[in-house]
């Protein structure tokens, strides 16, 4: 038996190729359409979610935290988006909320800077910001503060969350804390703010010169602590104000 080897065979092959191409483009078009409609659905659902829960997101810290976690896990940044400020932000008003909180954080950091040398404890910051916002502002949490500080980063003002001995602190001056100062801060926090040379010598094995130099630098150069010259036991003690609570 002989197979046809004429031109008709080529034609047949061409024909089926074309059909396959058509079919495939048909299929991918359906997929794209499908995807578009899914995306539309998602956006509608999101808009709906946002408008329904807008108030809860703004006012309820637990809910806001859960929402932000959800955003993070699906890889969506609530503040970013195609339009300026982000459509998430626009839907939720969360962008403004976050910036507003940022401004309040800056306010507290700047106004307490002279007392604490630009280093403030997280709890204290949350307390003062809440006071500033008043009762109507809704509750805020550490997470809110941390994410707001992230939004401040483009400003280059050097706001930073640092962890000292397991305690979160916010630094608002571009000044690197050296290792000795970190140790001193940790000790101060345990001792209710008060530090003396002997503590550093006894507990950290420092020489007296090293302890004195570190403390005097914090006092005179950096303004990170206050001096108490009436200390009954040592005559001279140093107080780290960022480890204390203080109403203004």
């Amino acid at each position: 038996m002989r197979r046809g080897v004429g031109l008709a065979a080529f034609d047949r092959q061409e024909q089926s190729k074309r059909s396959f191409a058509e079919l495939s483009s048909e299929l991918s078009k359906t997929q794209v359409d499908n995807l578009h409609s899914q995306l539309d659905q998602f956006r509608t659902a999101l808009a709906h979610f946002a408008s329904t829960h807008r108030e809860s997101i703004k006012n309820d810290p637990t809910f806001r935290h859960a929402f932000q976690q959800m955003c993070a896990s699906i890889g969506v940044d609530p503040l970013a988006g195609p339009r300026k400020g982000g459509w998430w932000a626009e839907l939720l008003g969360l962008g403004d909320w976050q910036y507003e909180l940022g401004v309040q954080i800056v306010d507290v950091c700047v106004s307490t800077r002279e007392q604490n040398g630009g280093l403030i404890g997280m709890t204290e910051l949350v307390r003062l910001v809440s006071k500033l916002r008043g009762v109507t502002g809704g509750e805020i949490t550490e997470e809110d503060v941390i994410s707001s500080i992230k939004t401040l980063q483009p400003l280059g003002a050097g706001y930073q969350v640092v962890e000292i001995d397991g305690r979160k602190m916010i630094r608002s001056v571009v000044k690197a804390l050296d290792d000795d100062q970190t140790v001193i801060l940790a000790i101060a926090q345990e001792a209710g703010g008060r530090v003396v040379e002997d503590q550093l010598i006894r507990r950290k094995g420092w020489t007296r010169d090293r302890a004195r130099a570190a403390l005097e630098n914090m006092l005179l150069r950096d303004g990170l602590c206050w001096l108490d010259a009436q200390d009954e036991r040592t005559g001279r003690s140093y107080w780290i104000f960022s480890a204390l609570q203080w109403d203004m």
Binding site: E114, Q115, D228, Q230, E232, F241, Q245, D247
Partner: protein
């Protein structure tokens, strides 16, 4: 922490911090501490209607200012040279004047601005219907019915009268046993 003292004055939490009673060597910290001291002195003076603050009050037990110049609970007190510097800062900021003048041991504290005192005085005179009456200073500092001006120091009273004089609302008049003053209604 806020501590309410017996006379109902609310001491700020910084008053419980031992270093508050030491003069701070860092200039920035020093400025903050001085500002806090001045604020405390003015609010306390206003609360207790105190007018005179002396450097000696830092050392004298039982002075009117003891409640703020000392903190027995933490065993701290402000030292005289420190207080003296605070008084100087107050004078510089026009929140006090040395009284008597030409010394630096004692000040008259302006917990109201002198201009405010002038208005308080004028309001009192008006509301008690004593416009155009000749009054002695004593009538003002010790009226039968206690007023905001009761016990106001003479030097402050004179300043207030002087300020009203600039807008023709007061006149100092010589009377038999010294000086008197007459307040006039605001022209125009």
């Amino acid at each position: 922490m806020i501590v309410v003292e017996k006379r109902g004055f609310v001491l700020p939490s910084i008053h419980s911090a031992p270093p508050f009673f030491t003069e701070q060597p860092n200039p920035t910290t020093h400025a903050t501490a001085t500002a806090q001291w001045i604020k405390l002195i003015l609010t306390y003076a206003r609360h207790r209607k105190l007018f005179t603050l002396r450097v000696e009050d830092a050392e004298t037990a039982g002075s009117d200012w003891e409640e703020i110049l000392r903190n027995e609970r933490i065993n701290r007190k402000i030292l005289a040279p420190h207080l003296s510097n605070i008084l100087e800062a107050m004078v510089q900021q026009n929140l006090a004047v040395y009284e008597p003048p030409k010394q630096a041991r004692s000040v008259l504290v302006f917990w109201r601005l002198q201009e405010e005192w002038a208005e308080v005085l004028y309001d009192w005179v008006t509301s008690t219907g004593q416009l155009n009456t000749i009054m002695t200073f004593y009538d003002i500092t010790d009226p039968p019915l206690e007023s905001l001006l009761t016990n106001i120091p003479l030097s402050l009273l004179r300043k207030a009268i002087g300020i009203l004089g600039k807008t023709n609302r007061s006149q100092i008049i010589a009377i038999a046993d010294g000086e008197g003053v007459r307040f006039l209604s605001r022209s125009k």
